[in-house]
């Protein structure tokens, strides 16, 4: 899959572990918010048309180092921000496309411990609900409605939590809220509000437990389903779910994952049948795993070599179902981002009779991966096998014409260990008869190509291009140039859009 390298976001810096809040008001725009190293509240934005802007102070706002800034977009032209200020007051400001940034104001006199997270949900474009653990450990809420303005704070069903505990709120539908928090006894609790019945009492969620103050992450993939994530008391990452049809399930460890106590698990649902999780692991590396309705949970993997201080939250936004943007404060206090964009994959199985001598096999594979990546195709080396077939390493390929193969080719191509029906096998041989750099002729759908020991760095990609139905072309800066890939000019060679379209349409690319 297509993860980009991490990059610094406009030179921004923050205290280690500072959360970066990101919101996509529309699919081609991102707004970021963070408390900077001087306690100022800063923002930057990215727009598809102009790239990243510089950081700027948001109306002179200030907060304790590391304080989370929460943000909501009630509509694409409006943002509301919330933070606990340096005096413990709960403050808000807003940005509107028509008027720009407003000044900060205290929300109904509310107060919380320094650094507390102010949770906000917009159930509809004209309504906000706020939740926070107050200075007395009570769980409080207030709301804003376009028709009536800000209400006073009230206790949510007498709930309590350790000072600074984040309260998680989610609206599965506009008339329903679900809240989650780690209670004063370390139990994981929930309550709900429904327009028809008001607030319910708190209840334990399947007996779950976590360290005091541990954040509970909740996501609704659809209006009748909730998924929860938390770092448990043993440092392992746990999940449970609620479904309208079956109620609450038991907690389970997610793919063996672990993190420092109180680590926030960030999750995004790119579509209703897929979840992506992000967390800083116990070794300080940034990890991800996924759940897909078709395949279940995947294993954890390090995201582009990224690292951060233990417990650093990884904020994630999915602007499109095939795109993710990640943000984190890195180990040096720099604010970093990476993105993932879904690409198609070509699975290649490497069969080695003779190693290349002109360039290394690794160079050939890397060269092919580089060219194809630019076309949005990941070349995945699914397996590598050595074949001890000395009588086939100088392979008779006949005229090397499409659909016509020799007895020797048929014999060699019968070696397809590990390869699926729609996988490509590439055979590294010493030479062909007659002498070629490679040959893509293969019988029917037994997808195969041979590459010889004197091939160029680009021959592998060139021959695989033939398998994917690409013909020779004249321009010398193209992968499929017929004049010999040793003579490609201006490397790496290009693929024309029409060639990319042809490759993407091939059944091997999926």
């Amino acid at each position: 899959m297509g993860w980009a390298p991490w990059f610094g976001v406009s030179g921004g810096r923050a205290a280690l572990r500072s959360p970066i809040s990101c919101i996509a008001r529309n699919p081609d725009h991102l707004d970021l918010f963070v408390t900077g190293t001087d306690g100022g509240i800063y923002s930057t934005w990215w727009d598809a048309s102009s790239g990243w802007a510089g950081w700027f102070s948001v109306s002179g706002g200030r907060a304790a180092l590391g304080s989370p800034i929460t943000c909501v977009a009630r509509n694409p032209n409006h943002l509301d921000l919330f933070v606990v200020g340096t005096d413990g007051g709960i403050y808000s400001t807003w940005w509107d496309a028509s008027s720009g940034w407003a000044g900060w104001f205290q929300v109904s006199g509310g107060r919380a411990a320094l650094g507390s997270r102010v949770e906000v949900v917009a159930r509809n474009p004209d309504h906000l609900d706020l939740f926070v653990t107050g200075t007395d450990g009570g769980i409080y809420s207030t709301w804003w409605d376009a028709s009536s303005g800000w209400a006073g704070w009230f206790s949510v069903s007498d709930g309590r939590a350790a000072l600074g505990s984040p309260v998680t709120a989610i609206a599965r539908n506009p008339d329903h809220l679900d809240l989650f928090v780690t209670g004063t006894d370390g139990g994981i609790y929930s309550t709900w509000w429904d327009a028809s019945s008001g607030w319910a009492g708190w209840f334990s969620v399947s007996g779950g437990r976590a360290h005091l103050g541990a954040p509970i992450t909740a996501i609704a993939r659809n209006p009748n389903h909730l998924d929860l994530f938390v770092t448990g008391t043993d440092g392992r990452i746990y999940s449970t779910w609620w479904d309208a049809a079956s109620g609450w399930a038991g907690w389970f460890n997610v793919s063996g994952g672990a993190a420092a106590p109180r680590s926030r698990i960030n999750v995004v649902a790119r579509n209703p049948n897929h979840l992506d999780l992000f967390v800083t692991g116990t070794d300080g590396r940034i990890y991800s795993t996924w759940w897909d309705a078709a395949s279940g949970w995947g294993g954890w993997f390090n995201v582009s070599g990224g690292a951060a201080a233990l417990s650093s939250p990884i904020d994630v936004v999915s602007r499109y179902p095939d795109h993710l943007d990640l943000f984190v404060t890195g180990t040096d206090g720099g604010i970093y981002s990476t993105w993932w964009h879904q690409t198609e994959a070509l699975r290649v199985h490497v069969k080695v009779l003779t190693e290349p001598t002109s360039v290394t096999r690794a160079q050939m594979i890397q060269s092919m991966q580089d060219v194809h990546r630019a076309a949005g195709i990941d070349v995945v080396v699914a397996s590598t096998e050595t074949l001890n077939l000395p009588l086939l390493t100088d392979l008779d390929v006949g005229a090397c014409t499409r659909g016509s193969t020799t007895a020797e080719q048929n014999q060699l191509f019968g070696n397809r260990n590990n390869a699926g029906t729609d996988d490509l096998c590439v055979y590294f041989v010493r030479s062909t008869v007659p002498p070629l750099n490679g040959c893509a002729a293969h019988p029917g759908t037994q997808w195969s190509a041979v590459v010889t020991s004197v091939a160029s760095p680009w021959t592998l990609g060139h021959e695989c291009g033939h398998v994917l139905d690409l013909p020779h072309v004249a321009p010398t800066d193209r992968l499929m140039m017929g004049g010999g890939t040793w003579n490609i000019t201006n490397p790496p060679p290009d693929l024309a859009q029409s060639e990319i379209d042809t490759m993407l349409a091939h059944r091997l690319v999926r």
Binding site: T357, S358, P390, L391, T393, D394, D396, A399, C400, R430, S431, V433, P434, P435, L436, N437, G438, C439, T452, S453, V454, A455, S456, T459, H462, E463, G482, G483, G484, T485, W486, N487
Partner: protein
């Protein structure tokens, strides 16, 4: 064709040898010999094979030069090229290549000799009886039986 044109034509990933042989013609043999003499694994195998396909005076000289290369990939090409020479031109080169230390090259030589047929096939008996590699022996036996 000039030598550089020939080199350029041979430096393609895939070649149409029959068409190139027609285009280059017997007058290219000296240039092909020079290209084989350079002993560059990227070009020499193709030059030797093309020279044999042209089958002119001097073709055997070019293939013989390839058969003496320090690069196994060039000698492998000479072994394949034998099949395009006449029996008389191929025989002494076949003797050399059937004694090559590389089993793959000996096997390819056996196949080329099998293609040529006639008296030269007498050399296969010795291979079938004495070659170190059981695969090469079996291949020679199979061709004798045919």
């Amino acid at each position: 064709m000039e030598r550089d044109e020939l080199r350029k034509a041979l430096d393609r990933d895939e070649l149409d040898y029959p068409a190139l042989a027609s285009e280059a013609g017997p007058e290219s043999i000296d240039d092909l010999e020079a290209l084989v003499a350079e002993d560059e694994p990227r070009i020499a195998p193709k030059a030797a094979y093309l020279a044999a396909l042209i089958d002119a005076d001097g073709s055997d000289r070019v293939v013989d030069l390839a058969a003496r290369s320090r690069h196994d990939v060039v000698r492998a090409s000479a072994a394949a090229a034998l099949g395009s020479l006449t029996q008389g031109r191929a025989a002494p080169i076949a003797d050399r290549l059937l004694a090559d230390p590389d089993a793959g090259i000996r096997a390819r030589t056996v196949k080329s000799v099998g293609l040529l047929g006639g008296e030269i096939q007498g050399s296969l008996r010795k291979v079938a009886d004495e070659d170190d590699d059981p695969g090469v022996r079996a291949l020679a036996e199979e061709l004798i039986a045919d």
